[in-house]
């Protein structure tokens, strides 16, 4: 790990000045540090300076319900999310995702802002011996390498998968991100916040240089909206998802009125399957519906040499998630 300077400002203004105009690439904001420090120790990123965000009184903190939904400050830890009775009631997919992420020790440190910005767990990206495309190299060694944990969708030039358990849950809950820079505040939906890496932007998000994630907002959902997150792992805990499925469903009687279905561990960003959602909306629960929908969801999958096992695994998880959410009817009217 390269030696670095450390600053701990108390105001946003000072923070933005440290991040510098257009955010000097060698200065990185530090929150929980559970990803950044790992990257630094592995020599994947080597900033000259870290700017601690944890002393910023101006950042919104905690989990609050307003008329406009639920707001989560960027520094909210995964443990706080996991234990929030409000979120457990309103957004079970999110508390389930938080409780399945990492380990209790990591969840005590990791923040939701950092969770959305964490880099892939691809074992080529994380290995300093490989100068892969995502790190500025020419190609992706996973594409024809050991790719059992890699992408089925959206692959090329990068085939890594997004590591966050909470991001797909937040997408299923239609959340938006609040970003601040010295130029002011902007709000973007999570579906725009995440974007496949491309030539000019070798990252998984559209956050701009000099910007900080300050909060997340989950809009109010109509009564009867249910959500869940299912995760397949090689062992019981402390593993990134082999695959995951986040789903939010609103039923009327047996009819599905509204649904968002997001897959995890399948693409460089959390992967929403809109065609499958389309088949569900307006359909009555029952028969072979969920089997058909899981087929549709995986229709466009392009497996690599070692990861085809993810396809049946996802179909199972999609079916189980939808069955769990629709087991009981919602009384109509």
């Amino acid at each position: 790990m390269k030696t670095f300077e450390y600053d701990s400002p108390e105001t946003l203004e000072e923070t933005f000045s440290l991040l510098g105009p257009d955010g000097e690439g060698a200065t990185r904001p530090l929150a929980g540090g559970t990803d950044l420090l790992t990257l630094m120790k592995a020599d994947i990123v080597s900033p000259d300076r870290l700017v601690n965000l944890k002393r910023l009184g101006e950042l919104p903190s905690g989990i609050k319900e307003t008329g406009d939904g639920v707001t989560l400050g960027a520094l909210t830890t995964l443990t706080e999310i996991e234990r929030s009775p409000l979120l457990r009631r309103r957004c079970p997919a999110l508390t389930e995702a938080a409780s399945l992420a990492a380990t209790p020790q990591l969840r005590n440190m990791a923040t939701i802002g950092g969770n959305l910005l964490q880099r892939p767990r691809c074992w080529y990206y994380r290995n300093s011996l490989f100068h892969c495309w995502l790190k500025g190299g020419d190609d992706c060694p996973a594409c024809d390498g050991q790719n059992q944990y890699h992408a089925l969708f959206g692959g090329g030039p990068c085939y890594a998968v997004h590591p966050s358990d909470l991001a797909p849950a937040l997408l299923a809950l239609d959340a938006e991100v609040i970003l601040k820079s010295r130029n002011g505040e902007r709000r973007v939906s999570l579906s725009e916040f995440f974007a496949l890496p491309e030539e000019g932007r070798r990252t998984e998000t559209t956050i701009r240089e000099g910007e900080l994630v300050t909060a997340l907002r989950i809009p109010p959902h109509p009564e009867g909206t249910r959500s869940t997150y299912l995760k397949a792992m090689d062992r019981k805990v402390w593993a990134f998802a082999l695959v995951g499925v986040a789903a939010a469903v609103r039923l009327e009687g047996k009819r599905i009125e509204e649904v968002r279905l997001v897959l995890n561990g399948v693409a460089p960003v959390p992967w929403r399957v809109r065609e499958a959602e389309g088949e569900l909306i307006g359909s009555e629960v029952g028969g072979e519906l969920f089997t058909h929908v899981s087929e549709t969801a995986l229709k466009g999958a392009r497996p690599l040499e070692h990861n085809a096992y993810k396809i049946p695994l996802l179909k199972t998880l999609i079916r189980r998630a939808l069955e769990t959410l629709t087991e009981t009817e919602v009384p109509s009217g």
């Binding site: 790990m1 767990r121 994380r126 390498g145 397949a232 090689d234 062992r235 593993a239 096992y309 189980r320």
Partner: protein
């Protein structure tokens, strides 16, 4: 839980469960481990490792690193003396010291990713790390050979051009990656199989796995101006470190002192030296003490995991279920240098059974992976995985209960394991009977789990030979009637307690009156490594002899003071008496010290009458057929301990072996890409089981005393890792009807076995 199999002698100390002497320091964080050592002016070393699996080192330019402020010295293999011939390492057998030296730092060729090629000492570990980046190594890339299939091909690239296959002392004419071919034979297998009604033959492939000790390797060395070298390290054997350092450094053994720290696990992986000679050379070059601490990637890439291999097993039984013939071909990956545990695998594979005709062919094969090392019953676990699953399939075809089959075919006293002498009294049959009688086996398993999951039950046996070796102890009687007991066996699993208990029993005092300490190589007689399940057995032997010697010495002193004939002094339960005179040990100690008489003695004992350990395990699993995920939901392990000196620590060994076996069975593997680069050198990606992956383990200790030990002890530490992968594989078959032949049985492999066989 302890099963009584026969009437036992009464003991005062043995069989009780006192607190271990090192317990308080460990639970309060005071115990000093390898990386806790701090010396004045200490410098910090780091090691540069080869990024490539197979290469020739053309040149190493260290000038830029040497110029970095804070860097004190840089070393490469040019700083190492030419290594000597071979050396006896004890448990690991004979070691070619030129290979050991080259494994510590690559000479000419770098033979695996992670092979050390250079090292730096600096005033801080961060500067040392930065300096590594400034070392320029010119590598000429060679084709890697990553498994036994590739390595045994006739046209395979050769790791060592001068390696010729040795078969029964004969060397082959052409060089090869096969270092040796071992053949063990009993009876005539052709005749045996001709008489079989049922024959099952299967092939197996298993992955490289690591011991996974929690404490990474750490060594600190100080080479003083007069040539005295002191090494502090976390090791299973201080004397093994001393002799390896002497050979690799070509330095007189008398000038090397090795000081053991507490050790956070070893399991066989902390016998060979990796850091110690490097720290020593850096210390000589800098004139300062130098400490090197590995990180987890160093441990996974640069130490000695246990090998994967390719195994073929064929077994036959007659219509009544009597085993008539068995054959195995074992090809184990030695790693970069010869020395896999294939020989041990060959002797263990059929050991629980009486088989008239058997043959095992074992191949020790070099590949471009780290030099393999011992791991808890080295070589036996994957051998048992193969044989015990083949037996399960035979039982299925014969329609026999797998434990009844084992009862029928169990080896007993006088039977002979392949390549071995006839057994003395052994306890496999008693383990099978205890398993049959266990509540677990007598309780039927509900085959349907929640959510479409399927449940199954499997059993497997295991054997490990155990080792005796040589141990020493020194005892000193203190004026207050306590005894200071100096041991040279580093304590991994509670051996300070188990040795002190045997001393206390033999000496006739309470456990609390014995103060054991593990000391350095200058302070106690020779000790072989803590390995081979030998310490409670072998060092216990030394402690018992020491107690007898000290009793004689005390009696002799008392005889002089009491003015009686020495032979008239008798000792019973720690009370000395003669002709109406009487002294408890405390009284005797006070009397002797007040008269200027001090009692101390040392014993060096060659262990003898070692006896093998057997285990029978029962596993219940729950399989999700739609995801392939296997959960172990209930586990019982039955094991013959001979005599459990401290039953809690025996149970700890048993549970620990099962936990490691569950990881080996279901998740753990080194994943290499085609170029030979390890993809998962972190504990996030190399998946050991967590507490939630291991069920509550029910331990049943069977005690069939070893007739060759004063208290009946057999080794207990290793055999519990032998049966788990086989028991779990058999349980998976019972649950979902498929036979897994590759380890680990990860969700994707299980899913494929069900849906895409």
């Amino acid at each position: 839980m302890i099963m009584d199999t026969q009437t036992k002698p009464e003991y005062r100390v043995i069989g009780t469960r006192p607190v271990r002497p090192d317990g308080v320091d460990k639970v309060t964080g005071r115990a000093v481990y390898g990386a806790d050592v701090q010396l004045p002016r200490m410098a910090f070393g780091k090691i540069l490792r080869s990024p490539f699996a197979h290469s020739r080192i053309r040149n190493i330019d260290t000038s830029k690193a040497e110029a970095l402020p804070g860097v004190l010295a840089v070393m490469t293999s040019r700083d190492m003396p030419e290594a000597s011939a071979t050396m006896d390492l004890g448990e690991g057998g004979e070691q070619d010291m030129s290979h050991a030296s080259a494994n510590v730092m690559a000479h000419g060729k770098a033979l695996y990713q992670g092979h050390a090629v250079a090292a730096v000492a600096a005033t801080s570990p961060y500067i040392a790390e930065e300096a590594l980046r400034l070392i320029d190594v010119g590598y000429e890339m060679l084709d890697p050979v990553m498994d036994v299939h590739a390595a045994m091909k006739p046209d395979a690239p050769l790791l060592h051009p001068a390696l010729f296959t040795e078969t029964a002392g004969e060397k082959a004419a052409q060089p090869s990656n096969v270092a040796s071919h071992t053949i063990l034979e009993e009876g005539n297998i052709e005749e045996g199989f001709a008489g079989a009604a049922v024959v099952v033959e299967r092939e197996f492939d298993t992955a490289t796995v690591h011991q996974g000790y929690i404490e990474p390797h750490a060594a600190t060395a100080e080479w003083k101006a007069d040539g005295q070298l002191t090494v502090w390290c976390s090791t299973q054997g201080t004397f093994a470190v001393r002799s390896q350092c002497a050979e690799i450094l070509r330095h007189p053994v008398s000038q090397i002192k090795v000081v053991p720290t507490e050790i956070g696990g070893g399991f066989g992986g902390k016998i060979s030296v990796y850091l110690e000679p490097v720290a020593a050379i850096l210390s000589r070059k800098t004139g300062r003490p130098v400490q090197i601490v590995m990180d987890r990637a160093d441990v996974l890439m640069g130490t000695g995991p246990t090998p994967g291999g390719h195994l073929i097993v064929k077994m036959g039984a007659d219509r009544d279920g009597n085993l008539v013939a068995a054959q195995a071909t074992l090809a184990y990956e030695a790693g970069a240098y010869p020395g896999s545990p294939v020989g041990a695998g060959a002797t263990c594979i059929f050991a629980p059974y009486r088989i008239p005709n058997a043959r095992v062919d074992g191949y020790d094969v070099v590949v471009n992976k780290p030099k393999s090392n011992a791991y808890r019953a080295p070589g036996a676990t994957i051998a048992a995985f193969a044989a015990e699953t083949v037996i399960d399939e035979m039982c299925e075809q014969l329609g026999m209960d797998p434990l009844e089959f084992r009862r029928k075919n169990s080896a007993q006293e006088g039977d002979k394991r392949i390549g071995g002498p006839p057994y003395a009294r052994i306890g496999h049959l008693e383990c099978v009977e205890a398993a049959l009688a266990s509540e677990h086996y007598r309780t039927p398993l509900e085959k349907e789990g929640p959510g479409g999951k399927r449940r199954g039950r499997g059993v497997a046996s295991g054997y490990w030979g155990n080792w005796d070796g040589t141990s020493s102890c020194t005892g000193r009687l203190n004026p207050d009637g306590t005894v200071s007991l100096l041991e040279g066996s580093t304590d991994i699993g509670g051996s300070r307690a188990s040795i002190a208990m045997q001393f206390a029993e033999a000496f006739g005092i309470d456990y609390e009156q014995v103060h054991p300490a593990v000391v350095d190589t200058d302070t106690v007689g020779y000790n072989d490594v803590t390995g081979g399940s030998r310490t409670t057995f072998g060092t216990g032997f030394a402690a018992i002899q020491l107690a007898e010697r000290m009793q004689r010495d005390i009696a002799a002193h008392l005889a002089e003071l009491w003015e009686v004939a020495p032979e008239s002094v008798t000792v019973e339960n720690g009370v000395y008496s003669a002709d109406g005179q009487r002294a408890t040990l405390a009284e005797a100690a006070k009397l002797l010290s007040s008269r200027g008489r001090h009692v101390a003695a040392s014993i060096t004992a060659k262990g003898q009458n070692k006896s093998g350990a057997f285990a029978v395990h029962i596993a219940d699993v729950e399989v999700d057929p739609e995801t392939g995920k296997v959960d172990v939901i209930r586990y019982t392990d039955v094991q013959d301990a001979g005599k459990a000196i401290h039953p809690s620590y025996v149970e700890g060994q048993m549970s620990g072996g099962v936990a490691q076996g569950i990881g080996w069975a279901l998740n753990e593997e080194y994943v290499y890409d085609d170029a030979g680069a390890l993809r998962n050198p972190t504990l996030l990606d190399y998946r050991m089981p967590t507490a939630l992956d291991v069920p509550d383990i029910h331990n049943i200790i069977v005690e069939v005393p070893n007739p060759g030990h004063p208290y009946g002890v057999r080794g207990v530490g290793e055999v519990p890792i032998v049966p788990p992968p086989a028991a779990i594989a058999n349980a998976i078959h019972d649950a979902v009807g498929v036979r897994l032949t590759d380890l680990p049985m990860s969700p994707s492999r299980v899913w494929k076995a069900i849906y895409a066989p």
